[in-house]
């Protein structure tokens, strides 16, 4: 009997971590890693930081060396896209026409950058999700100052704006929300960072894009020349970066057994269906502590969730084997148990010399309190609450020792007042 493989779909942070964790958890059968990008797994956060800046070359982004990959004994299929999954038989369809019947599947296809149809066919309009995106944008940012309009004032747009300013470009950051990054960091922290962007020379605007205006010349392809806003005003632009959020890469998952309303819906074990797990940006799962479905587009979550999903899949397959055949239970070892995935979420962002770091939940809060510790240094903390309990904490430019102590504050939601006192203590001593 030929052994069916475990297939991991998506060969990025979550995918490579899942593959390694499957081996560590004891999966010795065939292991297939499928990724539609041509590159070996690389890291995305530096794309809008060191890579865009020119400080790092792509080689620095590679998550694993060839020597680290070799012992995993992967059937690595790069440049290959999964186009379908039959849930009942755990069978993948690939864009090269192959069908792959699997013992188990881990879905780690992440998200894709959202675009605007109005920008179709124009050159000079970029997104920033992949290495190829970042290299193309970097190329246009080299060789002389340009007028860059960043559409979208979330975390990604702000990071790219900061780098472009540091490189000496004329940068306009436009968003629907008056305060940049307000959804992720809260209004108080957003204001503080807006001050920094303004002080560095970024022009901050509130508005919505109506159209992209092409250069007058009848050259092909047509180069963007300006951005028209809904209020009628026009921003001249040599380059436009669309940083308007992302869409989970679930379009290929059409089996009605799967819930793909916002990413791929999973239970507390990161299982979307029997033998089918998900991890990383694409996965929405029932967080056992917070008691509601959550999906994060954070680098740390990609690794942690991939490790959890891999362990749980191996535990499920082990139990299946034990139940399926008496002889399979031969080694008599206690089968590993599946465990709910209950992380303390973490994310960071770097803008200019400032580091933002957050533990817990900062979105979906009904209460936010920001404390500025040092306005000139932009040192501040913010506490995020929901239904009377503290669920998240965010710090800007906080010393690492103080920061680490904040994690315990929101590891399990505590009463708002108590968390507030503890936060004050943690940020006044030492």
């Amino acid at each position: 009997m030929t052994t069916r493989p475990i297939a991991v779909v998506g060969a990025s942070a979550a995918g490579i971590t899942a593959a390694e964790a499957l081996r560590r958890a004891g999966w010795t059968g065939p292991l297939t890693l499928i990724g539609d990008e041509p590159h070996l797994p690389y890291d995305r956060p530096p794309l809008s930081k060191q890579l865009l800046h020119g400080a790092w070359e792509p080689a620095r982004l590679m998550l694993r060396t060839a020597e680290q990959l070799a012992p995993l004994d992967l059937d690595l299929r790069l440049g290959t896209r999964a186009t379908g999954l039959d849930v009942a038989t755990r069978t993948l369809t690939l864009d090269d026409g192959q069908r792959l019947a699997c013992a188990g599947v881990i879905i780690a296809t992440g998200v894709a950058a959202r675009t605007l149809p109005a920008a179709d066919g124009l050159t000079g309009v970029f997104t920033l999700r992949t290495l190829d995106d970042a290299l193309a944008l970097r190329d246009r940012l080299s060789g002389g100052p340009r007028r860059l309009v960043v559409v979208g004032n979330g975390v990604l747009g702000c990071e790219a704006a900061a780098v472009a300013r540091e490189l000496g470009h004329e940068v306009t950051l436009i968003g629907r929300e008056p305060v940049p990054m307000a959804a992720a960091v809260g209004p108080g922290m957003g204001e503080l960072l807006a001050d920094e962007h303004r002080a560095r020379g970024v022009r901050l605007l509130t508005g919505e894009v109506a159209a992209f205006e092409p250069a007058a010349a009848a050259d092909r392809p047509v180069q963007v020349d300006g951005v028209r806003l809904v209020d009628g005003s026009r921003l001249p632009a040599d380059l436009v970066l669309l940083a308007i959020g992302s869409e989970p890469a679930v379009g290929w998952l059409t089996d009605p057994a799967l819930d793909t309303t916002d990413g791929l819906g999973c239970d507390a074990y990161c299982a979307a269906a029997p033998g089918i797990y998900a991890a990383g940006d694409v996965a929405r799962w029932e967080h056992p502590v917070h008691g509601r479905p959550l999906r994060f587009e954070h680098r740390m979550n990609a690794t942690e969730q991939a490790m959890a999903a891999a362990r749980n899949l191996v535990a499920e397959l082990t139990a299946e084997a034990v139940n399926g055949t008496a002889e399979a239970a031969g080694d008599g070892a206690e089968p590993p148990e599946r465990r709910p995935f209950a992380p303390v979420p973490y994310f960071w962002s770097d803008q200019y010399g400032l580091k933002l770091q957050a533990y817990g939940l900062t979105t979906g809060a009904d209460q936010v309190e920001t404390t500025v510790l040092d306005r000139d240094a932009r040192r501040a903390v913010a506490l995020f609450g929901r239904a009377g309990r503290a669920v998240g904490v965010l710090a800007c430019a906080l010393p690492p020792r103080q920061l680490r102590s904040l994690r315990a504050l929101v590891a399990t939601p505590v009463l708002w007042e108590e968390a507030r006192d503890r936060l004050r203590e943690a940020t006044t001593v030492g």
Binding site: T2, T3, R4, P5, A13, T17, E20, A21, R24, A25, G26, W27, T28, G29, P30, D43, P45, P46, R60, L63, R64, Q68, A103, R299, M300, A302, T303, E304, M307, V314, L317, T318, A321, A328, D331, A333, P336, Y346, W348, D350, K355, Q357, P399, P400, R401, L403, R404, R407
Partner: protein, 83 residues
């Protein structure tokens, strides 16, 4: 496929008794501090910028599991473990 079966085997620790050597690519560190949470005897962070510091490049066997976990979880692939 030679020597491979589809049935998961119990996790083993083939390296348990052997030496471990840790190297860091500290330039890549994003100061997440996860390594310090997992293996505080082996990793620390610089006070000024939070960048990782190695306290013990060849930790004893009882630290090995924690170190492997830290290397796997580090969001910037900073920690390299040789066994």
């Amino acid at each position: 496929m030679t020597g491979r079966t589809g049935r998961p085997t119990a996790p083993t620790d083939p390296h348990g008794a052997t030496a471990m050597k840790i190297t860091l690519d500290a330039d890549k560190c994003c100061a997440a501090g996860q390594c310090v949470l997992i293996a505080p005897e082996v990793f620390d962070q610089r006070d000024e910028d939070g960048v990782v510091v190695l306290l013990d490049a060849a930790p004893p066997a009882e630290q090995h599991t924690a170190v492997r976990e830290a290397a796997a979880i580090c969001p910037a692939a900073v920690i390299e473990v040789q066994e």
